[in-house]
Symmetry: C2
Subunit: 339 residues, 2 copies
Amino acid sequence: MVTIVDVAKRANVSTMTVSRVINHAASVSDATRARVLLAMRELNYVPNSIARSLVSGRTHTIGLIIADLTNSFFTTLARGAEDAAHKHLHRLVICNHDDDIDKERTYIEALISARVDGLIITPAGNDSVENLKIIQQHGIPFIFVDRIVHSIKADHVVGDSMSGAYELTSHLLRQGHSHIGIVSGPLNIHTASERLKGYQAALAEFGAEVRQELVLYMPYGPGADTAVPELDQQIRGLLSQNPAPTAIFALNNVIAVQVLRSLRRLGLAVPDDVALACFEEVDPYELMHLDISTAIQPAYAFGEESVNILFRRIDDPDKPFESVVLKPRLQLWPSHRKG
Amino acid sequence: MVTIVDVAKRANVSTMTVSRVINHAASVSDATRARVLLAMRELNYVPNSIARSLVSGRTHTIGLIIADLTNSFFTTLARGAEDAAHKHLHRLVICNHDDDIDKERTYIEALISARVDGLIITPAGNDSVENLKIIQQHGIPFIFVDRIVHSIKADHVVGDSMSGAYELTSHLLRQGHSHIGIVSGPLNIHTASERLKGYQAALAEFGAEVRQELVLYMPYGPGADTAVPELDQQIRGLLSQNPAPTAIFALNNVIAVQVLRSLRRLGLAVPDDVALACFEEVDPYELMHLDISTAIQPAYAFGEESVNILFRRIDDPDKPFESVVLKPRLQLWPSHRKG
DNA sequence: GCAACATATGTTATCGCTAACAATTGTGAT
DNA sequence: ATCACAATTGTTAGCGATAACATATGTTGC
């Protein structure tokens, strides 16, 4: 591999002069600069940023730890982050923890070892605290995206899960659905507990009963992409409660797809047999004519904003924390069948 | 930041001994090892892999350059690559070139500078040759995924675009559609030209006329996600040819979504008014009851296989090139309306 | 012509770690 | 007790770049 020494020799200058040319430093004569540039071109020299990082302590790399890249919400978020990082001349290292604390820890340590300039993280759950403390101990600037962990204070970009869920549930109630089933995720995940709260708040507000037997739980993401065998049974159980729910609220897009498939297997149509609402991260359904009321989050902005805030944090480590709450856009469909 | 020197001091040994403990090298007494491990734990020491890379020349990082992370095909591919890289204890740096040669070049240089151990690339187009030569000049092991560039020989994992397109077109022809429109992508992209060839081959085989006026072109990916204003007009133009096509073949998933939206705006139903076939990279439509015949590619395997082959290449730079062609899975729907 | 300073270039040390070799200690065979 | 050799630990140099300081030119003004 060609190094700065090779270029220096060929251009008949010291390595320092080459370094100056690379870094556009002043005080290099035009003649010398030209000679060095020529040598660089002739040798196909590309500076070794590893070596540069060792000296400067900066890697121009940002770590992005998310739940699952195949979830379209995170995909779009990642793309937003990538574009923003690119503007700052930084590279993005993307890691998926699949809501698994141990996997999250492995990645955090790898990224610390790689000396990323900063870290954007969707914590795997409330138990991520220990993992997050490791980041803090190493003084690496980081920001929460999508999910927070209450005991750790940091910048964050999140959606308004609570009010989004409240609105979706209210909508169903207004449509005459007085009994609404909900398929929740693990409650140790911030967005899941918030959305459940929003659902309950809406029920309370409308004087509807909060019935524990109308709440199902399933994984939030990983593995959920494959069929969930028991789900059909659970959904059937849910719908045979007395009084039976006439609508179902799915806590996120992955869950919604599972529920939709399950309903289909059970021969039930949406929304004619059962109305469906979903806290959905993007909107592929729009295209499909499916009448599913959704709270659509600006996923791209989640990623973009996170990166921008992270860079502000890097520039000024002591500034007060920023808290950005992005409202979901509601897309409400009338249900065809009333309670 | 804690370094190996701090640990060495605390454990009262030389840095070399600490290094030996970190790297599980033999010939460290149990007592010393214990002392070092304790010091490491007490100081929260995490080895600096930047420094390690500078010495070893390996970064444990793989570059993945794709067209667009928000395209579900590439998302799933990336996830497959990430999982495989993780198994090899490597990190993945993901870059999107949006089918733009200059952007591709920028990323390639950045990744060379970062001294990635290898590179997986979906070339932006046939003009990527110069960019790819840069990779070769630097002796960085790389592999093509999804698309190849003929003038550059390298390992590759691609789909069978030609036969997939042939099959889809044949299916439409068998359904009685004797005039089939096609919305193609830029022909300097390998998969686009291959799929067009497959379409033409099928027409020829069935004795159907290849009509140039039934071929539309649009971008393959970037920007295509937003509305294409002229598309409605073009589609309308396409459908008003004489004789009019009764089916449309969309060359990839992004194009299919555009066409679908456009047809919807024009008030045309699929497949009742116009049948649709699509070289689709994954299968969200399956869920949606839409009768679109698709050639579904095993995107996850694309990524996974690429990584595995890349590591074999790294281990043995002189072995013969591997060529993996993954067949798409055909999902063929009967059309409701016959030519 | 020469001090005084700007401009251009070079030298040395260092970032954190490890390869290669060196030194020390301990062990068993004779 | 002594030598040969293995096991353990240390020393030095260097990966490729740059910061900080040093030196060599050129330029200006009087």
